[in-house]
Amino acid sequence: MAIITFHGVTKVYKTGFRKKKVALKDFSLDIHEGEVFGFLGPNGAGKSTAIKILLNLIFPTAGKAEIMGRSVENKEVRRMVGYLPENPYFYDYLNPVELLIFAGKTSGMDSFKIKEKTEMLLNTVSLWNERKRPIRSYSKGMVQRVGLALALIHDPKVVILDEPMTGLDPIGRRQVIDLILKLKSEGRTIFFSSHILEDIERVCDRIGILVNGNLVRVIDIKSEQFTTSLENIFIEEVEKAGEVQQ
């Protein structure tokens, strides 16, 4: 069953007077229940655009996106979605507990459950002892981990992570990988973008390569036999699309 669906999505940004940039071109994709789907692509390929359309942060110029069969424009859909933005930024003077209470309450959780999950998640991302400090005193990696806790507070069925490894040290990266594998074992659907091919290869069931707004290839990690590394496949696809000049 498809949990995330893009139906011929095109997104055109206005970049100036009469100037336009096509970020996504007739993009179609199905991501299935319990699947970990990795999104690969050079900078500006349209990965974040696709993710933002799913979260209704931007609107498609043409086509439509659905989560669990419902239009992403329906705000109730987001009750089942956890999202970590790229380079997240949170309220400076609040602490992670206050943010998690907000996230839990807006997702319809009761106070007892929020308290329980807050402790569990902040321990998972190693921030429990720092929970009373305002976010402004946190390092970039710590902010990223707060973002992960926020994405997971309400036990979402779908987890969308935009460059979750950005700003993390090797230990932090390892924690995120372990967390994604744990979420996968719990049967959650995960859609994430990353530049780190090694991480994508390790955790994903399928990989989509996006170049210049076009989905140029979808690779099934389990069934396809590779004669070369993922890095070479990626570079080959980008070259084919004319992105890299040799």
């Binding site: 933002k52 942060l57 931007i58 705000k75 933005p85 309220y91 609040l94 907000f102 926020l150």
Partner: protein, 269 residues
């Protein structure tokens, strides 16, 4: 309602913990202290001066709170994309905007209530040490004047919310809000001046028409300035209450409705 209340709550918490608010409180306390010194320089009407300066301080501190914290609370969300954290939840854009406005109003209420209580100090001092039997003063009118300062600031909050809903950065919203505030403070006086022709100034019909438009488009802030009534202990009739409060409610609802409409299709790339 949960979503609106939760957005209001984090907006309020973020605002009240902001260090700028301590700076505003210190400025207000210094102005209250200065009031107690300044009133000793007057021979007559000391209570009136104390009331006028105290209420002006509350109004000024409230305005500073809105311009430096209120605008920033919107600005950061939009400039630094903190809004992703909110909009990616089951919170609609309209709920976000109304929640943000409510949080700023809550913050303004706390600031005005706190400084409103403190503003009584210079008045009490002036009454105790420099009391003149002919001075008319009524605490009830003084209290009403503070409530009206709050209502005026809520209108300014709604104007800030409107500008934040469509401007691309917080600085533009700040400048536009300031412009509206200053126009709104003076349109009634300008209109009165043109209509009365006391100075016998030749005013072109176009200018007169434009002032009329400005009078109806911009909020009439002078209607919420009861400093004179409080200073002179003048009674305020029930009609005035009803019409000004209805006017404020109508203006706030209209401003928020336009803001919500503009914000509904706004993208956050």
């Amino acid at each position: 309602m949960t979503a609106v209340w939760q957005v209001a709550l984090i907006t309020f918490k973020e605002g009240i913990k902001n260090r700028v608010i301590f700076g505003i409180f210190i400025i207000a306390l210094l102005l209250f202290a200065a009031t107690t010194v300044v009133i000793t320089l007057f021979m007559r009407d000391i209570v009136k001066v104390a009331v006028d300066l105290s209420l002006s301080t509350v109004s000024f501190a409230g305005l500073l709170t809105l311009l430096f914290i209120g605008v920033n609370l919107f600005g950061k969300d939009l400039d630094k994309r903190t809004i992703y954290m909110v909009i990616s939840r089951p919170v609609s854009r309209s709920q976000y905007l109304i929640g943000k406005f409510s949080g700023i109003v809550l913050l303004t209420f706390v600031v005005v209530a706190f400084l409103g209580i403190l503003s009584a100090a210079p008045v009490i001092l002036s009454k105790r040490f420099y009391y003149y039997p002919e001075a008319r003063f009524d605490w009830w009118i003084f209290f009403i004047a503070i409530v009206y300062i709050f209502i005026k600031l809520v209108i300014v909050s709604s104007v800030i919310t409107l500008f934040a809903s469509f401007t691309s950065n917080s600085f533009i919203a700040l400048v536009l809000s300031l412009v509206v505030y200053f126009i709104a403070q003076s349109t009634e006086s300008v209109r009165f001046l043109i209509a009365s022709q006391v100075e016998r100034i030749e005013v072109s019909p176009i200018l007169s028409y434009m002032v009329d438009i400005a009078y109806y488009v911009f909020p009439n802030m002078s209607a919420f300035d009861l400093k004179m009534q409080a200073a002179h202990g003048l009674k305020i009739g029930p009609d005035y209450f009803i019409w000004t409060i209805l006017y404020a409610i109508f203006y706030i609802i209209a401003t928020l409705a336009i803001g919500t409409l503009a914000f509904r299709r706004r993208e956050f790339p």
